[in-house]
């Protein structure tokens, strides 16, 4: 057998957008069709250009996924990720192109598809399992493992409508990960459940990958993608725009996404948007990682300020602070604590700043506040408004998406200790 699990060539999927009355967008009515049919007969054939316009949800997608590879599919909403997965799982057909799937494919596009609230957990395991493509014997064989994984043993005979949402999701995911397909397609299902369950899911996916099975994972949780996947592709407007090792691709995507989202905020940083204070013209402010195009937790990070003195400054000063999303001050550095600076003449330009060996903040949005001034007069002035920057998602603690309400903002290098060791 070949080592290829999936091969796609020029795959495309078009949807017709009908213009006109809203209600006709989705469902035609029989009357319309009959009316059109009659009209067509009278107008004669050949004049069949519908007012429908084609929208290509996916276009020219060519891709090869090797057996055992774990591929992350990255992209914004509407980039075509779900369409790609739907075509791969044979839910819908491509409009053009060709795809080859080598081996049994299992797809998990939604947690709990086909669960019936009136049926018990036990009954739903069988129902959901067969819906996902398992044979009854397979469900039976995996039954104990599923119940174990979902941790619902004592509620097995309770209708799932009485389950907590956590239990429901655990059960649904448990059934799906025990599918044992050669190729598993997973769409955004890791966003659910509590911390321990998410960790279990990530571990399970990783171990599935370790067994030589192929996984395609779509997630907005970049930390999970980085934690699990080996390779990544970025979809944008239905096309593959980047492909490569997952971290590089994720960095590239995030840098692009940030550039788009933060174009306004970053404009203040560009040299043509300089900020003036009483003593200085601040030409440039930058914060960047020495390890890539985006800032990640524990990266070495440099914050640099380039400024030109408007008058003679006998004792220049620079202070930078990192603020949280709510502009609460998280950390600050004053250059005076490190060294003495030379006086600056009028018109003299200098670049100064800090290198932070391990940037200690968790993924999220932060602000950089810069103050410059004449220390001889004890005056430091704000250089414009705080500038927004992002620490992008990386698997700091395993791969779960971290929330600031739970984890705060400071990143700790840590490992768990349990005694006696289990």
């Amino acid at each position: 057998m070949s080592q290829t699990a999936i091969r796609l060539e020029g795959l495309g999927k078009a949807y017709a957008i009908t213009h006109g009355v809203q209600s006709r967008l989705k469902y035609g009515s029989l009357r319309d069709s009959l009316a059109n049919g009659v009209r067509r007969v009278f107008r004669g054939r050949g004049n069949e250009d519908d007012p429908a316009e084609l929208f290509w949800a996916l276009k020219d997608v060519s891709l090869e996924v090797a057996r055992g590879e774990i591929l992350g599919v990255i992209g914004r909403n509407g980039a075509g990720k779900s369409t790609l997965l739907k075509i791969l799982s044979r839910i819908t057909e491509p409009t053009e192109g060709l795809g080859e799937i080598h081996g049994r494919i299992g797809s998990l596009l939604e947690v709990g598809t086909g669960f019936h609230p009136e049926l018990s957990g036990r009954e739903n395991i069988f129902l959901n399992g067969t819906i996902l493509g398992m044979r009854r014997a397979e469900v039976l064989r995996n039954f104990d493992a599923i119940v174990d994984f979902a941790e619902i043993e004592q509620f097995l005979d309770v209708p799932v409508k009485r389950y907590s949402s956590g239990m429901y999701v655990r059960l649904a995911f448990a059934v799906a990960v025990h599918l044992e397909p050669e190729i598993l397609v997973v769409d955004e299902v890791l966003a659910v459940g509590d911390a321990e369950f998410q960790r279990k899911c990530l571990e399970k996916l990783r171990s599935i990958g370790g067994q030589g099975r192929t996984i395609l994972l779509v997630s907005h949780n970049m930390a999970a993608i980085r934690a699990i996947c080996t390779r990544g592709i970025v979809l944008s407007k239905g096309r593959i725009v980047a492909e490569g090792p997952v971290n590089a691709v994720a960095d590239q995507y995030l840098a692009g996404a940030l550039a788009g989202a933060l174009a306004g905020a970053l404009a203040g940083i560009g040299s043509d948007h300089s900020v003036e204070t009483g003593r200085f013209v601040v030409d440039d402010i930058s914060i960047r990682s020495l390890e890539g195009s985006v800032i990640k937790t524990f990266d070495p990070v440099e914050i640099l300020v380039t400024m030109t003195a408007k008058t003679d400054v006998s004792d220049p000063g620079l202070a930078v602070a990192v603020l949280g999303a709510d502009h609460h001050r998280l950390a600050g550095l004053d250059i005076k604590d490190f060294r003495t600076l030379q006086p600056m003449r009028e018109g003299e330009r200098a670049t100064m700043g800090f290198r932070i060996e391990q940037f200690p903040f968790l993924p999220g949005a932060y602000y950089l506040e810069i103050r410059v001034g004449e220390m001889a007069e004890w005056s430091l002035e704000l250089a414009g408004d705080p500038l927004r920057f992002d620490v992008v998602e990386t698997p700091v603690y395993g791969g779960r998406r971290l929330t600031q309400s739970m984890h705060g903002t400071v990143a700790l290098r840590a490992r768990a200790i349990v005694s006696p060791e289990q």
Binding site: S29, L30, L88, I91, G97, T113, G133
Partner: protein, 277 residues
């Protein structure tokens, strides 16, 4: 899976040529089983009367028919006590009407499955149709009681009953396939089904006997396959003299044609269901 080999699956736009590919269906027989089982289980779980519904519906209709058609209108019933005469016809009719309705609405009702998981879509209407058989089985017991009560001893013809059940189910499926596939495209179908069922009831010899139709037209009457099924039931169970031969033959031909057409139509549209439903 070591048990079965998975060949390469090709993803490509479907051409004009449609294949039935019923082997696919065989692969998913466990799913079919669980879908039927789910429908039946949920129906009986959610209703207070549960299985009683299966009996009540034909039974009450039978009572109404007996009073209005049997007593008041004095509709001839071929020498069979009118209640049994009506009930024996209401059994397959209820099976057909219920199964066809369920099948017709089945695809639209399974929207969440169709847009999220792949499986041969044929499983859905087939499961819907088969779900009606359980009710049928329950209400069949009542018929046996009725036959005892009126002292009707069945002849050997009763052995042919499974054939007529199959024919009723096949009729429901063949119509249901067309309806459910159309329903995805045109939601008007949903409103058509109750009317269709009612209209069809008048065209079927449930309250009356097909012997009211002159023998010359009897075969033409068989164009309504349910006419063949209903008369077949009466013949097999109640020992009606006259075999529904020619009428039945026409009915079978009609059903087979409808069914094959329905299967092809369904398969043709199958690939668009997820996009349109």
């Amino acid at each position: 899976m070591a048990t079965h080999q998975h060949p390469v699956v090709y993803l490509r736009p479907s051409g004009r040529f449609t294949r039935l590919n019923l082997r696919d269906l065989h692969e998913y027989r466990d799913l079919l089983y669980f879908l039927v089982w789910r429908d039946v289980k949920v129906r009986y779980k959610q209703t207070v009367l549960g299985a009683a519904w299966a009996i009540l519906q034909p039974l009450l209709t039978m009572v109404a028919f007996s009073i209005f058609f049997g007593r008041l209108a004095k509709v001839p019933s071929d020498g069979i006590p009118y209640p049994v005469f009506a009930y024996a016809a209401l059994l397959p009719w209820t099976l057909f009407a219920y199964s066809m309705t369920e099948a017709g609405n089945s695809l639209v009702g399974s929207q969440n499955l169709i847009t999220k998981v792949y499986f041969p879509r044929l499983v859905i209407p087939i499961a819907a149709v088969l779900g009606g058989l359980v009710d049928f089985g329950v209400s069949f017991c009542v018929l046996i009681v009725l036959m005892f009560y009126y002292g009707i001893t069945p002849t050997l013809a009763i052995l042919t009953i499974p054939l007529f059940i199959v024919l009723a189910v096949a009729t429901a499926l063949s119509v249901g396939l067309w309806l459910c596939a159309l329903n995805v495209r045109y939601r008007d179908v949903r409103y058509t089904i109750p009317f269709l069922t009612q209209f069809w009831l008048f065209l079927t010899p449930v309250a009356y006997s097909s012997s009211m139709v002159s023998p010359r037209w009897r075969a033409v009457y068989g164009l309504n396959p349910m006419a063949g099924v209903v008369e077949g039931f009466r013949w097999a169970l109640l020992g009606k003299k006259e075999t529904p031969g020619p009428m039945l033959a026409v009915s079978v031909v009609v059903v087979v044609t409808l069914l094959i057409g329905g299967l092809y139509y369904f398969r043709r549209l199958e690939s668009t269901f997820a996009d349109n439903v």
